[in-house]
Structures are given as C-alpha cells and as structure tokens.
C-alpha cells in the first residue's frame, strides 16, 4: 500500500518507520490506560533507536569505500565497547573489564580472525563488520550471563567457599563448581539457537539475504554457518572469562574478595 504513495527509497523508509512507530505508540496508549506509564521511556527509546541505526547506516555507506583495514579497527572498537558494557553489569567483580576484554578478544576475536582467513567470513568490509558484530554481540551477552551468574553463585555460597579455603583448598578449587555452573548457564542461549534454527526462528541474516535476492538455500546454509560461529565464539569467550574470573575474585593470599556486605559488622 505504502509503495503506491511513496516513490523514493528514503521517503518509503520514513513512512514505514512512522507506521511501525505508531503501532508502538498505540501499545503505549493501551498500557497507559492500564496505569502503566511508559510514555517517556518508549518515546525516548524510539527516537534513540532510529537515530542510532540511521547513523550506523550512514557510516556503513562510508565504509564501503574505505580501505580494507578499517573493518578490523571497527571490530576491535566493538570488542572494547562490548567488554565495557559486559563489565558494567558485574561491577562487584574485581577487574571485570579486563576479564571481559580478554575473554571476548580470545573468543569472538579469534573466531572472526580464523574464519575470515579461511574465507568463511567474506573479508569485504560490508560482510566482515556485520557478521563480526553478530559474533561480538553474542559473545558479550554470553559473557555477561556467565559473569553475573558467577557473581550471584559465589555470593550465595560464601560459606561453602570459605569452608573449603579454611581447609587449605586452593582458591581455584573452592569456586570451581560455581565457575562450571556459570559456564553451562551462559551457553544455553547459543545451544538453543542452534537447536531451534528454522523451527522457532529464521534469524535476521537469512531474512536479509533472501530479501536482497540471495538463493534461499544458500542463505539458509550461511545462516547455519553464522549460528555455529556464534556458538563457538560465545563458548570460547565464556570458557576464558570463567577461568579468568576464578582468579580475580581472590586476593594474592587466596582470600575471597567478593563477599558483598558481609565484611562489615563483624
């Protein structure tokens, strides 16, 4: 319907955006009548969303003409940003930023490097950056899940951990069960994505490739390729972060630093 009225790409896009946003506003109105006030938050998020994504679109246009190495620089910047976002979630963990950075670098960074060298990821910036960003974003999510789970498990088991330490256990041994549980929990989303591929969701990349005219079967196989890479990079990230974090929550004399408010009042 919109295509009849709006001829240019930009005009059509804007019209589609307005329509999609107005559905969101309707939902907001319904929520408001039920006493849930989301007006400010939703309006802000909508505006923010369109500005951000349009800006990225514009940058991508510039990138298309940029030299080869800019792709690597952008991905590196993304890894730094991802580490910071992840670390902000677990402020209680000492050196969370360092742990996240090393983990995402080792996990997402190494998979991106290997796969683009092997030709699985096209090294053209227009392919490298979007696919790489998917790997980094998923690695970041998995890393946040792992560290947050580790923090809450450790703080819930301070007694057991210190009982083990008090018996002469190495710090690494005393938190091992919690590191293991955190790793398992953090890779659930990646495993479930692999499992439900095609049945529950046809992810964005395949949708995009089909929309832009790639053969659907190739698009489908490539979607699997990406999900498989997401799985390996996320898992590797969490393996690294859960083993690094086992050291940073202890002092040099193997004292548990992550004890929440328990240190006071004794």
């Amino acid at each position: 319907m919109l295509k009849h009225w709006f001829a240019g790409h930009l005009a059509l896009g804007l019209a589609q955006a307005v329509l999609a946003a107005s559905v969101a506003l309707v939902v907001m109105y319904i929520a408001r009548r039920r006493g849930i006030h989301l007006e400010k938050e939703i309006s802000l998020a909508l505006v923010r969303g369109i500005v951000q994504i349009t800006a990225v679109g514009t940058v991508l246009v510039l990138l298309l003409r940029g030299p080869h190495w800019t792709g690597g620089v952008i991905l590196l910047a993304m890894i730094f940003a991802a580490a910071m976002i992840s670390a902000r979630r677990v402020r209680a963990i000492p050196q969370a930023w360092k742990v996240s950075l090393y983990a995402i670098l080792a996990g997402a960074g190494s998979v991106i490097a290997l796969m683009s060298l092997a030709g699985v990821i096209d090294s053209a910036i227009t392919a490298l950056v979007p696919v790489g960003s998917m790997l980094i974003a998923n690695a970041m999510n998995a890393n946040s899940l792992a560290l947050e789970r580790f923090r809450s498990d450790v703080q819930a088991h301070v007694g057991q951990i210190e009982a083990a330490l008090a018996l002469g256990a190495a710090s690494q041994v005393s938190v091992f069960p919690y590191a293991q549980a955190s790793f398992r929990a953090s890779i659930i989303p990646a495993i479930d994505s692999l499992r439900s591929l095609g049945i529950v969701w046809i992810p964005g990349l395949m949708a995009g490739m089909v929309l832009s005219g790639s053969p659907p079967v190739y698009a489908a196989v490539y979607q699997f390729v990406v999900i498989a890479m997401i799985f390996s990079s996320s898992s590797l990230t969490c393996l690294v972060s859960t083993s690094l974090v086992r050291q940073t929550v202890f002092s040099g004399s193997e004292q548990l630093l992550l004890r929440a408010s328990m240190d006071l009042g004794r």
Binding site: G159, Q160, E162, A163, A164, L165, A166, L167, G168, A169, A170, V173, S251, S253, E254, Q255, L256, D263, L264, G265, R266
Partner: protein
C-alpha cells in the same frame, strides 16, 4: 613436641611456660599463637585493633564480647581468611607471612558457626582437607575421626540427611582431619538447638582435652566460656579489653 605433663589442671606449669618433655627435661615452650598489635580495618571501619596476646600449647582461650565486638573478625585473621592490615601474628614461632596461605590454613583449623558441609557423603567431607595436599585418609583414619566426634558408622551417610548437631560434628571432624596445631571455633554451638548445644560443647571439650589441642573459641555465652576455657579474652569495639584466667575475667 610430645609432652608428658600436660593437662587441664596444670595451670601453674602452663603459666610458667615450662613443660617437662619426654626425657624429663625442663623446656621452655613456644606459644602456639602469638599476636602482636594485630588489627584489621576496612575503609573507615575498624574491625580489629591492636590485639596483643598469646595462646600456649594445649590451652583453650575463649574470646567473649558483645556482637559486633570483632570476635569473628579476629578469628578470621588467624586463619588468614582476611588479611591483617596492622601488626602480625606468629604460629609456632614463625611469622604468618612465612607460610603460604594454604599451608597456614591447614595448620590452623577453623570450625564455623554454620557447618557448610560439601554435598556428598560424610567421608567426602572428611577427605576434603587431606585431598588438597594430595593425601587420602585410610578407612581406619576415617573410623577413628568419626569415633572422636561420636558419629561411628556415619561414613556413607549423605550430609543432607544429618541433623544440625550431627552436621556440626562432621565439620569438627573435617577440621581435625587436617591435624591442625591450632583449632579455631567460631560460635560452634550458637546455631544449634538447645539439646544439640550441650552435646556438641561436651564433645568439643572432650576432644580438646584428650588430644591436648590448642584452641581459640569465640562465644557470646560467658557460661560456655567458663565451662570450656582456661583463659578468657574480652573484646569490645575491636579491641582487647581484658585477658586472664576464667576466675580473673569472669569472676566465676
């Protein structure tokens, strides 16, 4: 060092710091524990401050005081679960910093208020400490440990089926499995029911007396301190207020 004369009633001998060793010679004994202006502060709050004291071999010292007086914080320093921020302490003549933390903790056992047993059987829990040093307890060692805490035949019991008193006994046996030179007890009976309380206290007394264990017990219960200890140290606001025999300090 094996000691021939070494019992609860020999207070005078202990006071004089002399023991008669196996060959009948008089020897000066080193205190098992000596603290020197020991303290710990976190930020602005002072948890423990300036504690200078010693505990002699075979002696039971009770630490009493109101809650928040720093009793548990003091105990945690001795097992190095927390780092002292001032002063130092010496275990059997060696500065605590000379030991790797793990070795110190194996020598200085700690029984907490809550047992915090590891999931699994009673035996798994007893094996834990020795396993950290690559050792494994034989069946007879397990049996004798369980006998000492009055839980004969409990090896295969799952810890989730134990009562509060039984669990605390297992945590005592678990600490003894490391063969510590100094045993720290942090309110060992305060989380237990009335009936279990006396049982565990009795047991601890027996173990401490028969094995001549050197022991620091934190308790808020002055009557318990009087029943268990040779000497009593009173803490308030992180500082040591008084130290002396039960009669001197508690006026019993």
């Amino acid at each position: 060092m094996d000691l021939l004369v070494h019992s609860h009633s020999d207070v005078k001998l202990v006071e004089n710091k002399y023991f008669i060793d196996i060959r009948g010679q008089m020897t000066t004994t080193l205190p098992v524990l000596r603290t020197e202006r020991l303290g710990r502060s976190v930020g602005q709050s002072v948890l423990v401050s300036d504690v200078t004291m010693e505990v002699r071999r075979g002696e039971v010292l009770a630490v009493v005081g109101p809650s928040g007086a720093g009793k548990s914080s003091f105990l945690r320093l001795l097992n190095r679960l927390d780092e002292p921020t001032g002063g130092s302490f010496v275990i059997e003549g060696r500065d605590y910093k000379e030991f790797p933390a793990r070795e110190l903790r194996q020598r200085v056992g700690l029984v907490m208020q809550t047992p915090f047993l590891f999931p699994g059987t009673v035996e798994t829990n007893l094996q834990f400490g020795p396993a950290q040093r690559g050792r494994s307890l034989g069946p007879s060692e397990i049996t004798s440990l369980l006998e000492r805490v009055g839980l004969f035949g409990y090896e295969r019991r799952d810890v989730s089926t134990l009562s509060g008193g039984e669990a605390q006994r297992v945590s005592v046996a678990r600490a003894l499995a490391n063969d510590p030179v100094l045993l720290l007890l942090d309110e060992p009976t305060s989380a237990l029911h009335e009936e279990a309380k006396m049982g565990v206290e009795q047991l601890l007394l027996e173990i401490v007396r028969t094995s001549h264990l050197t022991c620091v017990v934190v308790t808020h219960d002055r009557a318990q301190a009087a029943r268990m200890a040779d000497r009593v140290m009173v803490m308030k606001s992180g500082r040591m207020q008084k130290i002396g025999t039960v009669a001197e300090v508690l006026g019993a």
